[in-house]
């Protein structure tokens, strides 16, 4: 215990020696605080550098952090510029989320069962694998014109683009997950009287869950990345369309505000996914992120 105690000199040693549990708890709290401080400190440092760089170069093309903060306040609560964007943040976030999660869940609902079947059935793999690998390298942006023809102007084209971006990571990770399950588990299940669709539900799916969650997390990131592209398709609201509007209007403060909001939304929702996956995968020793 004592060598661990010396790791943080600011706490009094005799008390710790008497109460090792309290010491361990305090040590853990300290480690967590330090992690938070380091993780939050770095972006603050970047903001500081940004501020200095703008001040030193005297550029008028990039707003200072303060100007962006004002824009952010107006975007959130209004009352400063009172233009079309004032106090509209929730509407844009909500609209973008419907598209991000529309595309994401659609991708998950199709890619997970398909991945499970492709991973398990050789004939399906032979049938589909080359096509998947042919379509996969095509950038989502290249689909933009076609998706506008298929779905017209509006949210459906955006959902389709998000879907495309989220689909392949989920599919490939699911396939990989199924392929890397120990065959003994299938044998064990078979000898215990499990077969057919019950095998998919009770063995193939749970055994592949760690890989599926990896895929979902990657795909979820892509879904937020693609929201700007998706909302280039002529929708009036959404964080992507705010960024595109800011570009058209040469309002860089609006562009950066939109970027930050997208980043924060993606970050927070990613934490939710990590929480869910840690809960669902608590049996898996190698998963805890």
């Amino acid at each position: 215990m004592s060598e661990q105690v010396t790791a943080f000199p600011e706490t009094s040693q005799p008390a710790l020696a008497d109460a090792p549990v309290a010491a361990r708890q305090r040590r853990r709290t300290f480690a967590r605080l330090r992690a938070t401080a380091l993780g939050a400190g770095f972006p603050l440092l970047l903001v500081l550098l940004w501020d200095r760089a703008v001040a030193i170069t005297g550029t008028r093309l990039i707003p200072s952090p303060w100007e962006v903060a004002v824009m952010m306040y107006d975007f959130s609560f209004g009352g400063i510029y009172d233009d079309a964007f004032s106090g509209t943040i929730l509407t844009h976030i909500w609209k973008s989320m419907t598209r991000v999660y529309g595309g994401f869940f659609l991708a998950a609902v199709i890619a997970i069962p398909l991945g499970l079947m492709i991973g398990r059935l050789k004939i399906l793999r032979q049938l589909l694998d080359p096509t998947i690998n042919l379509l996969r390298p095509i950038p989502v942006t290249a689909w933009l014109p076609l998706s506008m023809i298929f779905f017209g102007l509006g949210p459906n084209a955006a959902i389709f683009l998000v879907f495309l971006g989220a689909f392949y990571p989920i599919l490939l990770n699911t396939m990989f997950g199924v392929r890397s399950v120990d065959v003994r588990l299938f044998e064990a299940a078979a000898m215990l009287g499990c077969s057919g669709s019950a095998m998919f539900r009770q063995v193939v799916l749970p055994a592949s869950l760690p890989a599926i969650f990896n895929g979902l997390r990657i795909a979820h990131g892509f879904a937020w990345i693609l929201i700007v592209v998706g909302e280039m398709t002529g929708v009036p609201t959404g964080l992507g369309s705010v960024v595109m509007d800011g570009r058209t209007l040469s309002r860089t403060d609006l562009v950066i505000t939109g970027m930050i909001v997208i980043g924060v939304c993606g970050f927070l929702t990613d934490r939710v996914i990590v929480l869910v996956s840690n809960r669902v995968l608590q049996w898996s020793p190698q998963h805890h992120a």
């Binding site: 120990d182 003994r184 588990l185 044998e187 064990a188 299940a189 078979a190 000898m191 215990l192 009287g193 499990c194 019950a198 009770q202 063995v203 749970p206 055994a207 869950l209 995968l281 608590q282 049996w283 898996s284 020793p285």
Partner: protein, 267 residues
Amino acid sequence: MPESKHGDVMVRAVSKRFIIGDGEVEALGRIDLRIVQGQFVCLIGASGCGKSTMLRIIAGFEEPTTGEVLVDEKPITGPGSDRGMVFQDYALFPWMTVRQNIGFGPRQRRLPRREVEQISDEFVHLVGLERAANRYPNQLSGGMKQRVAIARVLANHANILLMDEPFGALDALTREQLQGELLQIWGRTRVTIVFVTHSVEEAALLADRVLVMSAGPGRIESDIELDLPRPRDVSSPEFNAVRRDLARRLTSHLMPRRALQTESAVS
């Protein structure tokens, strides 16, 4: 405890050839064998002699190239819950707790939930894992995992226990303990046990009957009934005589032709 009234195994003219690369390897020559219900049979032999292949054919995981396996006079067509396999590396479902793993077989039979729980509890108790019943496999020691694996197949009313070097990965102390527990369980349930091992000591301790196999192609070289009284005293001269006899037979069958390790290629 289910009273097992079945568990006769008949192996009729079974042979097995594997295609490995361009070549063909004869893993098992023609094997004829009858194991009567309730017998504890050990298969011993050097690696590559086809003992695991034999077990996997009885389990229904591999199809024999020729011949057939009959269980209670009916030819088998694949894995079935009448034959429960206990693997060396446990093959427990890592996302299920001990209790859920044990209840897996009964759940497949679509028994009502109450009954599944009752059976699970009964077999958790049988292997003495009450305190670990809600843990996941990765929170268990090797010995505990193997207890779960045994309980899992017994809970499914397997009449035939197929065990593929089940205690090979355990430390000596745990192995000894589990051997004792297995004998107790066998004494109470009277299931048929086919037990693959490469340990002469283990075979002499456990078996009613020992089949010594040799490689290239795999065949049964000796078929020995052990009439040592139980519980067996490992320090008795009789036990030592049996052990020496088995060891002598095992080494005398060791052939130089073990270049193609068929067993490792399949498992």
